[in-house]
Structures are given as structure tokens and as C-alpha cells.
Amino acid sequence: MPVTSTNLGDRLASIIDASRVHSDPAVLARYAVDEVIPAAIARPGSAEEIAEIARFAIAENLAIVPVGSRSKLGIGMPPTRYDIALDMTALDQIAHYDPGDLTLSVDAGLPLAKLNAALAPHRQFLPLLLPFYSTSTIGGVIASGLNSPLRQTYGTARDFLIGAEFIDGTGAPCKSGGRVVKNVTGYDLHKLLIGSFGTLAIITRLNFRTFPMPLDSRGFVAAFPSAEGALALRRKIAESPLSPLTLEVLNPQLAQIFATQTPSGHEPAIFGDAGESASTGTTLPLPGDWFDAKSWQLCAAFAGSAEVLQRYERDLTALARSLPPALRPTATTFLDDATRPAIWGRLREALPLLLQASPAATIFRIGALPETHAALLDALREIAQRCDIPHALIARATGNIYFALLPDDPSIHLANAHVAAALDPQDVGHLLDGTNQEIIAQLAKAADAVFALCAKHSATASIQFCPALLKRHMNVFGPPRPDAAAMRRLKTAFDPQNIFAPGRMLQES
């Protein structure tokens, strides 16, 4: 029997339990990737079932997009074909945890918050403080390649993902790496899965090294009248013997958002705090008077014994004073367990906060050497001013800049995936006309300028979130690059028939 959009659900129900298959339009819409809606949802219960679904997709030439909690489906390009949404959330077990070895092996559908909750009794954690923290699955976190402010100390997932199991595009269960912290046996294929958006394989299991929680930690916030001062202190700290856990600079627009907005939903506290072990924490308090919402802000977290914390307080104060008078902070504050979550919770949830501030937010992730940031920040401000759209940004000492254009047109956001998902798919089409076309054109022009700017500074740039409409005009990964052919070869090696998330990352050739 040939597969049609009407009988796909039935066919899937012959592979896995019928209760794990959906083809109700209202449910399907919630799995939309931008404007693209799947024909059926399958929620397999094991790697074997996933392999069977993959083999079915190969035989019937169907496209599969693996999804976790669906918080980050808006990142990347929409798939060119999308038959089956593979909901991974039923694979949510901890397969192996050896606290004495600091190694962990978990199913891809396990929520990150639950994962850390299991490590907390052993005073260990996985250093991924990522947006959408309370809902994200570990598989989604890895596949979307987001990086955390803790990169400053712990690196990115590629530095502590030590192995993976996955179903490749032939429907075969494969693995790479292992469960040991040092290993050069075979190709490091698991590293390729980081940031692959489900285009290479369906990740079923991930192995990590875990890390001891810091003894105790504190925060430091300094307010500056200009970016120059904040970046100057950031450089001084980076060049000092101190090694803060996080080190980032915010512009006043973002400070304003932090001072007034709270990420929706319950938020667990920051790692190391008592609340971390619970997947449902308390709602973040707003920062107090000590947080100057009209200034540039430098934020740092640091950890250690009481003696070490004192040393940080001494040195940070001295470093701030050592700046030329014109660059010195107007205020500095040390944050304790009570005041810190207000800022650190928001730093972690900066992307959702920006989307809350403007659902049409167009958020760029830029990777640039830190000492190019001063020039980049100036140029980015000019780009925002030229298109007359407010902007907010974070510039981390790791080199990552998040630059957000925040149009305030209330209609445009309706084409965003997470909003469209809640609507009848029929309605989405109606949103694609009217005045918002003008803003889309402005955003597209600004995006071209950002991509050109970054190329000039040997930086990388991609759009993390933007209205679905914008993606009709451009690739969120920027202009074609010289290594695209090499990536296409890898895609074909993993997924010869192009059944996994086609077009989601690489442009179809």
C-alpha cells in the first residue's frame, strides 16, 4: 500500500503502538517547523523502533525530523520535506551514571533539567546553562548546538561529549566514542552531531563527562556609561590570573529588558543553588535597585572556596579601579545567592526573553575573536540604526556575540514558529501579507549587512531566531561557504537517501 498523507498515521501505527502516533491537525501544528507542518507524529519508545521507522522512511522516501521539547525548532532552516515528526521524549532514561568516574550516558529525550537533577546529589553537573533550560531535552540541546555562558570555563559540548549512539540514514544503529574521558578509538563522529539539527542521524543516546559543582559561587556586576569601559574591564579580567565561570557584557537595551521582564514559566535556580535539583523552581525575582538598567553592564560569575571568593572580590575591585577614569564603572555590585539568580537566570534565558520582548526578534549568533568586539559592536549599532530597529546584545569573552534586532510590529510575530504552532495551520497563510513585508525587507537588508561585516572580521554569523517569513528570503546560515561541499559529502555519508531533516541546515544542491 503506497503511503499517502492520509494513511501515513496508520502505517506508522503498524510499526509502533497506535497510541504513540498522531495525525490530528491540531496536534500536527504544534510540531510545525516555521511554516512547514508534518503529516504524522511518531513517539517511539526505543532505539529499535526508531531504526524501524527510519527503514520505513527509506523504503517509502519519507522525510523525518527528530524533535525534543520543540523549544528550538525555530533555529535553522525549515525542512524542504517533513513527513514524520519523530518525538524523542519517550526516550528519557539515564542509562549509566558512574559518579566516581564522572561519566554519564543518557537517552536523547531526557530533559536537561532532569539530567542535572540526577547529578546534583553527587554534587556534579553538566555545564550547559542553556536557554529554554526547564524544558529542553539533552538531544535537542546537542542537535541545536547552542552554547552556554559557561563556555568561558568548561568549553562547549564538543569538549565534554565523549560518545553517542544514533540511527544513521540506512536505518542502522551506530555509535562513536565511548564512556571514557579520553579516547581516540575511531573517528569522532559524535562531534559531528553537535549542531547538526537532526540532518545526519537520529541521536538516541549521549555520553558525557560530568563536572564537580563549584564549592560556592558569587556574581559581579559593573555598570558603565559606554561599551568601551565594559570591554576594557572584560579584557583586564581575561588577562588577569582570575578565571571567572562566565564573563559577558550587555548593552543598555538588554539591561532594560532584564530589569523589567521575567522569562515565562517556572525557572529552576542557577546551578549550585539548592533549587537546581528540582526541575520546577521558583519564578525569577526581578533585579533590585543595584542593577542600573540604563547602562552597559559587565557580568561575571566566579567560584571557589571562601578564600578564593575573597580574592576575586579584591582583584575585581582593583581591576575596575585600574581603568582610566573615563572608562571606570559608575557602580559595581557583588551578588550573593539571594541576588544572583535575578541576573544569571536572565543571562541564561536571554534568547527567550528577547523573543518575549519582540516575537519578531531576529537574533544573530556571532563567533568573533574577543579583541574584535569593540569594532563589531560599533558596526552592529550602525546596522541597527540604519534600519531603524531597536537592538540588544550580549558580548561574551568567549567570543560569542548575540545581536538581536527587535522590531515592534505586533503583526509580524504571528508567522513565528512557536506562535504559528498554536494556531490552525490555515490561519498562518493569512499572516503573510500586509505591512510586515516592509519590516521583513529591512531585516533582510540588515542580515546581509551583518553577514558581510562578520566576513570582513573573519567571524562566523548565523541567525538563531527570526520570523519564518525572513527565511523565505535568505538562509539563516549566511552566504554559501567554501566548506559547504565537504559538509554535503558528510551528509551523504550519514544519510545517503536524505531522509533526515532535508534542507534544515544545508541548502539542497
Partner: protein, 505 residues
Amino acid sequence: MNSDLIRELQILLGRASVLSLPEELLMYEYDGSIEKSLPDAVVFPTTTQQVSEIVKLANKHDVPIVGRGAGTGLSGGAIARAGGVMIVFARMNRILSVDYENLRAVVQPGLVNAELTRAVEHAGLYFAPDPSSQKSCTIGGNVSENSGGPHTLAYGVTTNHVTALELVLPDGEILRIGNAQGDALGYDLSGLFVGSEGTLALVTEITVRLCRKPEAVKTLLAIFDSIDDASETVVDITARAITPAACEMMDGWTLRVIEDYVHAGFPMDSAAVILLEIEGLRQSVAAQATAIEEVCLTHHAREVRLARDDRERDLFWKGRKNAFGALGRIAPCNYVLDGVIPRSKLPQTLRRIYEIGKAYDLQIGNIFHAGDGNLHPLVLYDPRTPGKLEAALAAANEIIRYCVEVGGSLTGEHGVGMEKAELMSLIFSDADFALMRRVHDAFNPSASLNPAKIFPLGKGCGEIRVRPTRGHATIATSAAPSASLLSGSAGNSASAKPEAATAKH
């Protein structure tokens, strides 16, 4: 070997940059492993463009290519297993640029590892990966093998310090991947190519991170009367989540051999020592040193010695890093393994290793990166005694199998190369091999680059079997299974090579 190819190489590079006489090639038939195979020609390019041209010439004549740094590798990665042209990067050994503000350096693959630190230490910087052979091994070789070293416990292995690469693909194409900052878009190509053992591309330029030297360093030597106590100490340090920068263990037998040679002040009558290094802020180093000392004493350390000054610290490390030279004086041959295990399994694994040594009547020394569970059992043997090489290989095979049984892996930092290729089936399934093979073929479809490595010959990229049309008879013979761990057959003479042995980990 095709004399036309030799001539064309000479025209391209100049006569002085092409070796093809048998006596000239002898130095290039081996590395630090027990494997051997002669290349047909050795060339010394000075530019990426030349590397690309060499690759194209070799392809035109249907001859395989292998890249080589200093030849200190321990798994046969830089051996011309199928003959052909060996590209030696000794003359591409420059530091192209150093960005002191952003902590990056761009280097050529032939640069000796320790030279990079020497060039930047005036600014308080260093290159973190520190294989014991760092005074001779090259950064290009480190990239190919994803090399480690004692301090990778805290700072990671080579792949954690590489942000961008320039490559020459097996078809001669020059490709740049990654980005100086480290945030590459798309698939993590650097993550794939680093550690691919020269089977996917030749590396012609490397962008690495530099690290700032820590404010304070303390080096401790913990001395034990029982090996079990020492290994339980390592387990406990790990479990208590104390993270030293290095945590190296040496057993008593190895220690005595080293002390005779290096005079590092190691106690001759102890059963084991652990060499620990702690780095960071003064305050944090002091607290961690106290915590470590406590753990050691809890596990009945006889003494915990703190290096009084840099001189004593250097002496401790000299003992550790010259271990292999010292061992070379005891037995004509040693075979060093590289198995890696979960740290929690250390005591039982060490006990098993000594049992295996007894069963085969072989001396096995242990000197290894205890903190990350990376064992280096050294099986000593005299190949002139009949049966000893076979016994050494069989013992090695049993040790590696045990490492895998307890949840470990074949190799932590030396690579699979030739010597562990046949053991890969202990870890990987046919489906795993099929995928790795498709990835291999995506870049190196005819296996012209570094053939017959990593993959077991039966499951590999088929280069041996598909090559008869290539018409160089040397391949079939030189690529026959050598003294592999699995077969235990003495296909190679595996003679002593002290000059390579001194460069080992």
C-alpha cells in the same frame, strides 16, 4: 617505484627534497611502534601548494601517499603501509602568526610541539597539549593523532585546542575549515579531521588556542607501599571531584628503573608513586594541595612530598617524561599499550595486568595518566628469545580486551593506526564500520591517503583488495598483516629501536 613520478617530484621540489634510494628511505620505514614498512619515495614540501601538487602527481601515477611529522607516533600512523610517497612536513615548521590578544597561533604542521610554547612563553602563554615526546613530535602529528599528555587531565587533548585547519584533500583540493574563534558553522569538520590519523586529509596549517600560565603551581609526589592503595587514592581523588592538572602513576618496578637512570629522587623501595600537579590561583592551589594530601594519607601514603622549588619539580617530571628512555636500558624491546578505562575500575584493572604478566612470564611496568584512566602498560621482552614477541603480543591482547570488558577503550591518545586496527572489532559493529567507511570514502574514496590504517583489513576501505590494478607489487607484500595484536604473529622483526623508544610517552 615509477621513475617518471620520481622525476616529476624532483622537478616540482628540487632534487634535494626527494629521497628515493633504499638507504635514504630506511629512516622512514618505522615510527615509535613495532611496525615497519618502506615508502618508495620521501618528499619534503615547503608550501601548501607543493603538498597539493605532490598529491596530484601521486594520484596521476596511482601511488598512495602518507603524511609524517617527526615519526614519534606509537601506532604506525605515519608508516607507508602500502609503500608510495611519504610527505614529511619537517620543512613546513614555521609559526605563521601569534595573536597575543586573542590567544591564538597559526602554525605549520612540522612545528615541534615544544617550540610553540618556547616562542610564546615570554608573554606568559603556552600550548597546553604536552605529549611526553613534545620535544620532538610535531603539532601536525598531534593533530592527526589527537595527542594527549599528562596535563590533558585538566586542559583537554589536542582537539580541544584546535580551532581551524587548512587541509589538502586526497584529490589535491586545498580546503580551510573552522574559524579562529572556534565557532564553526555547520558540521564540526575540525572535530572530525583532528584525530582522523591522516586518513581523511593532510593538514597543512593549524590554528591553535594558547593558554595563560597559571599563577601558582604545586607538584606533589605521593609515595605508597602498596599499588592497591595508590590506585584507590586515584579513584578517591576523582570521586571527590578534585581536579588536579596532572595525575600520573608509576609502579615500583618502573620507578626503580627510572631512578637508576634519571636520579629524580624517587624512593627505591616504594610500591608506587603518584605525581600530582595542581594549578590555578594561589589560594585555590593551597587548598587543593591540602585536600589531596588528606586523600593520600587516608589511603596510607607513606609520604607526600611537595616539590620545594622549580628544580625539584623539573626533576620529578624529568623522571616521568624520560621513563621510556630508562626502560630501553633494561630490555631490548618494550611494547607500550594505551588502553583506557573508567577511573573507578583502576584498582581491579591494574591487578589484572600484573596477573597477565605473571601468566606469560613477562615483566610489565605501569607508568600512566591515572587521572584520566589512560593506562600505558609496558610489556618488556627480548625478541631474540624464541616465543617472547608472541607472548608479549598475546599478553597485550589480553590486557586490551580486559580494558574493553570493564567499559573502556583501545586507545586513549596513541591512535589505532596499524597496530590496533584488528582490535577495532572489539568496540565497533559492522554498522559502525560501514558508517566510518562511508565517512572515510567521502574524502578518501580510493584510499590513496594513508591506506590500511584504523580499519581492520577485512572490514576496511578495501584498498588492499581493490588495488591490484595499481601495479605496484610492493603493496601486496608490505601491506600484509604485520605483528598485530590480534594475530600475535611475528610477521615483522620488530627489532629494538632505541632512538624511537626515547621519544615515547
